[in-house]
Amino acid sequence: MIELTAKSPFDGMLPLTVGALSLSEVDTGAMTALSARKGQGEALASAFKQAHGVAWPRAGRATGREGCRALWFGHVHVLLMGPPAAPALAEWAALVDQSDAWAVARLEGAGVRDVLARLTPLDLREGQFKRGRTARSEVAHMPASITRIGAQSYQVMVFRAMAGTLVEEVQTAMQGVAARAGG
């Protein structure tokens, strides 16, 4: 009998703490990308709500909570994080397993926005990017998804293969921010 062992995307590289700031790996459970079949958008949204108990997110929004979260993930895609997508949704949507495609991390602590300012061109001002907002953008030149999940807490996702670069870039940014703060 053979055995296959699973590795997480960050595989021991996290958590990382610099002063008040930390980057930690999030085990989100399953991740499924959903996109509505032609003309099935509304039907999918209501079936999705019924199946998973969270609203189908509008552009730039995240719904649900840790354990079952739906992220707007692009012009046609929503990413369900947590439970596997209900197979019945395939009637209205193309379902694609992305559980292993993304490295998901939580970046948090006082000064977290200053860290992100060194990594992404997004406007993350308090009034512009409130809790429940999500965006696709770049983080240190990597395709990324950024979601505000708390007052001082963001979920940052990059391609799994780029997990190491994310850790390095966030570490550098954190050190710069912490050093200014007196660290």
């Binding site: 552009a59 012009h75 895609h77 061109p121 696709r136 953008s137 770049e138």
Partner: protein, 90 residues
Amino acid sequence: MRISCPICGERDRREFYYQGAAVALDRPAPDAAAQAWDDYLHNRDNPAGPVREMWHHEAGCGAWLVVTRDTVTHEMLASDLASRVQEAGS
């Protein structure tokens, strides 16, 4: 430089990929005359003033956009989803 995405709002230019003139939307019929294909593929004006261009919000939502901007003033005049423009039959 910043570009408005109809889905994401105004974003930094680095999130976008530039393709070229929005004539790309008007693909000739397969059996169109050589001149029509030549015009579609190769012949471009280089106007000083408003231009319609294809931009891809590649590092953002993934939508293809038709962006109208002024090459003299650099003003961004309009932006729309390419799929919407195409389905509206423009």
